[in-house]
């Protein structure tokens, strides 16, 4: 038997034929004689029995036994993810605000309160997405960005290339570790790890705000659709915090659960749902584009303004599979009378117990479609996302 990532005998693609490959940015290959970059938590993953896979050059945990149990822990209790592979970039300079207003499609001028976070896309001149990222506002001259791991090099090159004209310093903080503690009980269980003097302020953080806590940075953000924190800390603190969280009953969670959680929350994955050939308007991210003020020039603006007026712009939708089976990335969608589309992220939803997907489909007014799975057409219904948020199923099943 073979699977689509590697066959179980370890032979890539030996059988040929159909393959439903995951996106190159979410493609795991089994580790073999190859050593990738390792985060400060690596030894802890091994100790916890993780199945280690290669993720964009990093040796990362796929799961620690059961991906579904990890997923449920985050929906019902609390889980911790090692996200140290993600890239933290600090921007500093008198014109940092002006620079970011030009660099990204959302408008950092919206950020007026200390620690406030903004989700945005960074576009190329053609309006394609170079990366999606979060910017934290420290002050008009200081911002922190968190960008994807798989796009690190091109992001840093792009940011640096444009920063020069604004005299902004771009400093990658590769020495820092980062974890995401997520779930309805995440903050309660993680609070004892935070230095006493900062604990009350951390607990009082509103959603989508962050704060410095000595040499830590704590933000009430995440990628799961649950409450929780993302915590940046010096690498030296990583092991101690990990041990304390596990001892407190927080479940260690791998990239597998991270993917199914974010899919249920209908949060885009770079490289799957959008890339440099796709604009935010065709990836369900128009809400992150700040069109006003109309005279703000940002990279890619002209291109996406043209697309904004186009009537045949593709839709980006959530799908619920009504037949039995599992939707997977790249499966073809057929919408009778309208054309064809493609699943950009598909999988099984542990919370709903059915298969769900995000997909790019032809323009038009319709709410049903079919997906080609192993030569058969299965019925799907277009649903309003998110599928799941804060532990609750949000669609009609």
């Amino acid at each position: 038997m073979t699977d689509n990532v590697t066959d179980l005998s370890g032979n890539q693609g030996q059988r040929g034929g159909r393959r439903y490959s995951l996106s190159p940015f979410f493609c795991f290959s089994e580790r073999s004689n190859y050593m990738g970059s390792r985060t400060p938590h690596y030894d802890k993953h091994v100790e916890a029995g993780a199945r280690i896979v290669d993720f964009g050059g990093w040796d990362m945990p796929l799961h620690y036994g059961s991906q579904k149990e990890e997923h449920q822990a985050v929906r019902q209790n609390a889980g911790v993810f090692d996200v140290s592979h993600m890239t933290i970039v600090d921007l500093c300079g008198n014109r940092a605000r002006e620079f970011l207003r030009f660099l990204v499609a959302n408008d950092v001028a919206k950020l007026k309160e200390y620690g406030k976070a903004l989700y945005t896309c960074m576009l190329n001149e053609d309006g394609g997405v170079i990366d999606d990222l979060i910017v934290y506002y420290i002050s008009d001259t200081d911002y922190r960005m968190v960008v994807n791991a798989s796009t690190r090099e091109k992001d840093l090159a792009w940011i640096s290339k444009h920063a020069g004209a604004f005299d902004v310093d771009v400093v990658e903080r590769a020495e820092l570790a980062m974890i995401a503690v997520q779930g309805p009980r995440a903050r309660e269980l993680a609070a004892p790890c935070i230095a006493a003097e900062y604990r009350d302020a951390a607990m009082a953080l509103r959603p989508f705000f962050g704060m410095d806590a000595g040499d830590w940075f704590i933000a009430r953000t995440g990628y799961t659709g649950e409450d929780g924190w993302e915590i940046v800390m010096p690498a030296a603190a990583a092991h101690g915090v990990w041990d304390r969280l596990l001892a407190a009953g927080v479940e260690p969670c791998g990239l597998g659960a991270r993917d199914t959680l974010r899919l249920e929350a209908a949060m885009n994955l770079y490289g799957s749902d959008m890339d440099e050939t796709i604009s935010p308007l065709e990836a369900g991210l128009e809400w992150t584009v700040a069109w006003e003020p109309a005279d703000r020039d940002f990279i890619g603006r002209a291109a996406i303004e043209r697309q904004r007026e186009s009537a045949d712009r593709r839709r980006f939708v959530g799908l619920l599979l009504e037949d039995k089976g599992v939707l997977r990335n790249h499966q073809k969608i057929v919408v009778e009378g309208f054309g064809e589309g493609e699943i950009t992220s598909g999988g099984f939803s542990p919370t709903i117990g059915r298969s769900i997907a995000l997909a790019r489909v032809p323009a038009g007014d319709y709410d049903r479609a079919q997906v080609e799975v192993r030569g058969k057409l299965l019925n799907v219904r277009i649903v309003k996302t998110p599928f799941v948020r804060n532990g609750q199923v949000r669609i009609d099943v």
Partner: protein, 130 residues
Amino acid sequence: MSELPGDLLYTNDHEWLRREDDGSVTIGITGHAATSLGDLVYVELPEVGQDVELGGEMAVVESVKAASDVYAPVAGSVAAVNEELADDPEKINADPYGDGWIVRMKIEGLDESELMSPDAYQQLLDELDD
């Protein structure tokens, strides 16, 4: 890795076969295969009565991670399928050699030279671990 059942035959593709008293064989995937795939969420089974050729696609198992074909380790016709997997595919993770069986096939004969003993399969697994 737990002990392999000694009364089964195995394949390179991580399937197992059990010879039943009536001459049919029961087929499933090994514990190694189930662990590699991760939690199973869906199993597509063949029709009872369907003829399957050696190496032909016999079933599809889908995990949280990926879809995988199960290829027939013998030629024959499908005598029974494990209907319980439709509602509870995780039986394969929980009990790959028992409740997690997939297909029972009527066969003409079994060429054991193409299959592996438990010892030979264990050796294959040991090599994969290296």
